[in-house]
């Protein structure tokens, strides 16, 4: 079993991270469009999307029987399935893989839920180290406003209601996201995350991203596929 950082593949892996409402998914979508137009073989993979464990995750969330440990392990199972069946083979084949959330999401959430910091990092040690990991840094109130304006409410686990932080879902969501934000800040130096100021105009953030991605892809010309 190869560990984080030991993998060497022809493909490239770019990931976006940040709290809910940081705008990371929008940025990844724009990057995806651009890479496709440039003629790269691009594949997108989303957090918590493996069909293999979907029913199990749904069952746990619906019945609200997930604890910090099972919440963590079921998401690790989901991630492992995508890693083994999707991300690894694609990187071996020379694709550009884009991930909306990666292991850092688990590190943030699971540690805030009380799981041991080193335990979670070791659990995900089979993951491939990204070519670049973009962290969209945003103040809590800005992210909260984006989320709460656009939706009718937040879900139980999303708001961290299982932690008993507050009876009020919105208040709980705020406290929970704030703690995750603190975890992200600690991870920036630990994992050398590329920080993007998520309060800037969307197109400004995007051109910064493209600049970095372009530089990384320049070292790997053979990725380009014929249109």
């Amino acid at each position: 079993m190869k560990r984080y950082g030991e993998h060497r593949f022809p493909g490239k892996l770019f990931v976006v991270e940040g709290i809910d409402g940081s705008g990371k998914s929008t940025q990844l979508m724009l990057l995806h469009q651009w890479l496709q137009a440039e003629g790269y073989g691009v594949v997108f993979s989303e957090w918590n999307s493996s069909p293999l464990v979907r029913e199990t995750t749904k069952r746990g969330k619906k019945r609200q029987t997930l604890t910090p440990s099972t919440f963590s392990l079921i998401h690790a199972t989901d991630f492992a399935d995508r890693m083994e069946h999707n991300i690894l083979p694609l990187l071996k084949a020379g694709a550009v893989v884009l991930c909306d959330r990666y292991i850092y999401t688990a590190f943030g959430r699971d540690v805030v839920r009380g799981m041991d910091r080193q335990w979670v990092r070791e659990l995900y040690s089979f993951a491939v180290k990204p070519t670049a990991a973009f962290y969209f840094r945003v103040p809590l109130d800005v992210a909260m406003k984006r989320i709460l304006d656009g939706r009718s409410g937040v879900k139980h686990y999303e708001a961290g209601m299982d932690l008993g932080l507050s009876e009020d879902p919105e208040e709980s969501f705020g406290i929970f996201q704030g703690r995750i934000l603190d975890e992200y800040e600690k991870m920036v130096p630990e994992f050398d995350l590329t920080t993007v100021d998520a309060t800037l105009a969307i197109e400004v953030q995007q051109s910064f991203m493209r600049l970095i991605v372009k530089a990384k892809l320049a070292q790997a010309k053979r990725l380009r596929v014929a249109p």
Partner: protein, 284 residues
């Protein structure tokens, strides 16, 4: 105070788990389930409440693992983590509450089988030990030891070779027999390493069911009486009756009515006549 191998789970209070956690380990088809079916009524007869649990029985992940395994598309790391999810769910929702309530928890396999399987499939030994670091240390681990040559006839003449128990996922080019032999040999080797590391109490599983049960029962009696392992003079038997008499009584007992267990979804397996019980453990 109970201990864990590494950091405990958040919110898990390790004090006041007055019950006993007894693990029955061993490879596929060695007769673990048969022995648990004998142990349970024997313990209940002495007034001990028993919870029995096994891999894949969790409310959360049991069904998902079953479905995933039917597809044969399960990656090795994914499979290990799916099992870890199942284990964590049972630990928090079944095992810990039962230990707090003073039950004897008999678990058919524990983290050791899961680690052995993962390691044989190429998982990093350090990684899998970390994954299960939150597990409670049991009061005793009884390992039913058998050699591959004694194991094969048992499996052939009961339920036959199973895809996963034959490691067909890692030796796909072989026929079932060759694959089973190769895979189980590797697995048994890994069990021996774990036996040393985790201080298993080894029980020879090659004799008949009754003999194995006598040894196991003596070991369990010792754990429950709180005596240290390997007593100087004799193995104490619970209730004062002779080992032979107690064993005979249990083996001839009718099935118990309805054993009490917290959160027991499936009916607990009743004591089977020996011929049937020897069919083996089709629960992996």
């Amino acid at each position: 105070m109970r201990e864990t191998y590494a950091a405990p789970l958040p919110g898990m209070n390790l004090a006041e788990m007055t019950g006993k956690l007894i693990v029955i380990e061993g490879t596929d088809g060695v007769g673990r389930l048969t022995q648990i079916r004998l142990l349970r009524p024997w313990l209940e007869q002495q007034g001990r409440a028993v919870l029995d649990t096994a891999i894949k029985r969790s409310e959360l992940a049991g069904k998902g693992i079953q479905q995933a395994k039917e597809g044969h598309t399960l990656g090795r790391i994914t499979l290990s983590l799916f099992y870890a999810t199942d284990f964590a769910d049972r630990l928090e929702h079944e095992i810990v509450p039962a230990l707090r309530a003073g039950f004897v928890v008999l678990t058919d396999r524990y983290i050791y089988s899961l680690m052995a399987r993962a390691i044989v499939r190429g998982a990093d030994a350090r990684w899998i030990r970390n994954a299960y670091g939150f597990a409670l240390k049991p009061d005793a681990i009884f390992y039913l030891r058998i050699g591959v040559d004694d194991l094969i006839p048992r499996v052939v003449f009961s339920r036959g070779f199973d895809y996963w128990e034959s490691g067909m996922d890692i030796h796909p080019s072989e026929d079932m027999y060759d694959s089973f032999r190769k895979y189980q040999t590797e697995l048994l080797g890994e069990f021996e390493r774990l036996a040393k590391e985790y201080n298993f109490e080894v029980i020879d599983a090659t004799p008949d069911v009754r003999t194995v049960f006598e040894h196991l029962r003596a070991g369990v009696a010792r754990v429950l009486s709180g005596e240290p392992r390997e007593p100087l003079f004799s193995i104490p038997t619970a209730g004062g009756e002779s080992l032979e008499a107690a064993t005979k009584k249990v083996l001839e007992m009718p099935a118990p009515a309805k054993p009490a267990a917290p959160a027991a979804e499936e009916p607990a397996p009743a004591a089977q006549p020996l011929a049937r019980a020897a069919e083996g453990d089709a629960n992996t």
